[in-house]
């Protein structure tokens, strides 16, 4: 890889917080100039990402077949046809389901086999991301980032299709952090816990999985809602990858190396001062 040789080593490419006192007019450091290659995604992140592309595709497709078997959602410990659903889900069409024809047995086999990949994959990613400090360095949300002025600034930057702080382009912006933290620490764990609560053996052995969601019928509803949240996450994620430059973004998730884009003269984040 020729680009790599031009760049600093991976470790020194980790974003260093710009001191709040830095004047807005400070020249951009050469290491952050557009065109600079930055080692952005660690190997464990890349492996988890692409395993999840396949796994979540299978989980959603097979999950829709399972949902078609009883397209009603309830709250509480139980729920069946004589009871009152809070939502009757629309029939999932065959072009979205796995298998394409209704086959509950095979859908369950797809779902429960890849559930293992999904759940143990999260465990692998979480352990590796604590050990290699990906969580601490890239996803830690600082209080000042949640200040309304900062959120508003970043929202305007998103509207202008500028997604990177020119002074610190490798840093994830606050909306990225919130989205990834929601997916990694809320939505996927909710899928796993509510999924375990659906299993009569696991809910017998670990009753807390049932208690935490408020019963098995609730577990099914939580499972559906968290999956819907993940689908929204994936749609927003893919749209933003395309807007941010699909080629460079996908390349970085394959090789790890990302090229600082030219964000059309983005202003620096003055509110930090």
């Amino acid at each position: 890889m020729t680009e790599a040789s031009l760049s600093a080593s991976p470790d020194s490419a980790i974003p260093v917080a710009v001191p709040p006192s830095a004047p807005p007019s400070a020249p951009l450091p050469a290491a952050n100039a557009p065109g600079t290659p930055i080692y952005r995604h660690r190997l464990t992140t890349r492996i988890w990402h692409w395993v999840n592309v396949v796994t979540i595709f299978i989980m959603i497709g097979s999950g829709l077949t399972i949902l078609n078997a009883h397209p009603h959602l309830y709250w509480g410990e139980f729920g069946a046809n004589p009871d009152h659903p809070w939502f009757n889900t629309p029939h999932a069409p065959s072009y979205l389901t796995i298998p394409a024809g209704y086959n509950l047995a095979l859908a369950r086999r797809w779902h429960l086999t890849f559930a293992l990949v999904f759940a143990f994959g999260l465990l692998f990613f979480m352990i590796s991301s604590v050990l290699n400090a990906h969580f601490q360095k890239d996803l830690r949300i600082r209080l000042k980032e949640l200040a309304p002025a900062h959120l508003w600034f970043d929202a305007k930057e998103h509207a202008a299709l500028r997604f990177h702080d020119p002074k610190n382009p490798n840093a994830r912006n606050i909306f990225q952090k919130l989205a990834y933290v929601a997916a990694i620490f809320v939505l996927i764990p909710a899928m796993i816990v509510s999924g375990l609560a659906l299993s009569p053996t696991m809910s017998a052995a670990w009753p807390w999985v049932l208690d935490i969601v408020g019963g098995r019928a609730s577990a099914r509803s939580v499972h559906f809602l968290a999956a819907s949240g993940l689908v929204i996450f994936i749609i927003v994620h893919v749209v933003l990858v395309i807007l941010a430059g699909a080629f460079g973004e996908v390349k970085s998730m394959i090789t790890g190396w990302w090229t600082v884009p030219d964000d059309h003269g983005a202003p620096t984040q003055e509110h930090g001062a």
């Binding site: 399972i66 949902l67 078997a69 009883h70 009603h72 410990e77 139980f78 729920g79 069946a80 046809n81 004589p82 009871d83 072009y95 796995i98 298998p99 394409a100 024809g101 086959n103 509950l104 047995a105 095979l106 369950r108 086999r109 797809w110 429960l112 086999t113 890849f114 293992l116 659906l198 299993s199 009569p200 053996t201 696991m202 809910s203 017998a204 052995a205 670990w206 009753p207 049932l210 098995r216 019928a217 099914r220 395309i242 430059g245 699909a246 080629f247 996908v250």
Partner: protein, 253 residues
């Protein structure tokens, strides 16, 4: 603008890829290549469940006020065979439960004997493979009591249930391992919701195996056999739905 070309290329590639994926899907999803993986998944889940959880853990039991107002009937609502109808007409007075296979003391238990046995009462949740659940109250002797009386041989690994209802002309059958068979909540229920078990819910007895899905909870049980292998039962997978349409034999997930 190279960026725009790139995006177009990516989108085109994506669309072509999705098309190829969809057209290849059915073959892939149902094909011989994926089946070993999917069937291995069941074995991994079964092994993990047994390895990671307490084998004696009890399924949640509920208060009477948590019961389903109406417990829906599913599967066979009435076997409606001449033999079964005759048993219903005489209120199962001549029904007998046969316990055999790999046991040292084969049993032939009368209806009166079964009802006189020490019984367990449990308010538990029935989880159907389709996704619905209902809570009901079940009452009957523990299967373990009966298996101990029959003195199951050490070579036995599974317990097979043969039922009075017919599917495609054959008696419904199911099987469980000895861990679930001797589990304290595994009972042969002859009463449900404080009434004698109705025909719709499996009279005269229905297996309750509380840590597995509904289709393992066989209704209309007529015969129980201890076996060392499931290969000679039905088509070899241990249960009617397992043989007919590939449902998991291990339905604890």
């Amino acid at each position: 603008m190279s960026g725009i070309i790139t995006r177009r290329a990516v989108l085109t590639t994506g669309a072509l890829g999705a098309g190829a994926l969809l057209s290849g899907c059915d073959k892939f999803q149902n094909g011989a290549a994926t089946r070993p993986i999917l069937f291995a998944g069941e074995q991994i889940n079964y092994g993990l469940a047994r390895a990671l959880t307490n084998r004696d853990s009890l399924a949640k039991e509920y208060r009477p006020d948590q019961m389903s107002p109406l417990f829906r009937v599913n599967g066979t609502a009435n076997p409606n065979t001449p033999t079964y109808n005759a048993m219903v007409a005489e209120k199962f007075a001549n029904w007998r439960l046969k316990v055999g296979g790999l046991v040292n003391r084969p049993l032939d238990i009368s209806h009166q004997q079964l009802l006189a046995m020490p019984a367990r009462t449990q308010i538990t949740r029935h989880d159907c493979v389709e996704g619905w659940s209902a809570i009901g109250k079940w009452h009957g002797p523990m299967l373990g009591t009966i298996l101990k009386a029959a003195d199951v041989r050490t070579t036995a690994r599974y317990v097979v249930f043969t039922c009075a209802d017919l599917y495609s002309g054959h008696n419904y059958y199911e099987s469980i391992d000895l861990i679930d068979a001797f589990h304290p909540q595994t009972i042969l229920a002859w009463a449900m919701n404080d009434a004698i078990l109705s025909v719709a819910h499996g009279a005269p007895i229905r297996l309750r195996v509380e840590r597995q899905l509904g289709y393992k909870n066989a209704k209309y049980v007529m015969q129980i056999d201890a076996v060392d292998s499931l290969s000679k039962i039905g088509k070899g997978k241990g249960g009617y739905w397992e043989d007919a349409i590939d449902y998991d034999w291990y339905a604890g997930i």
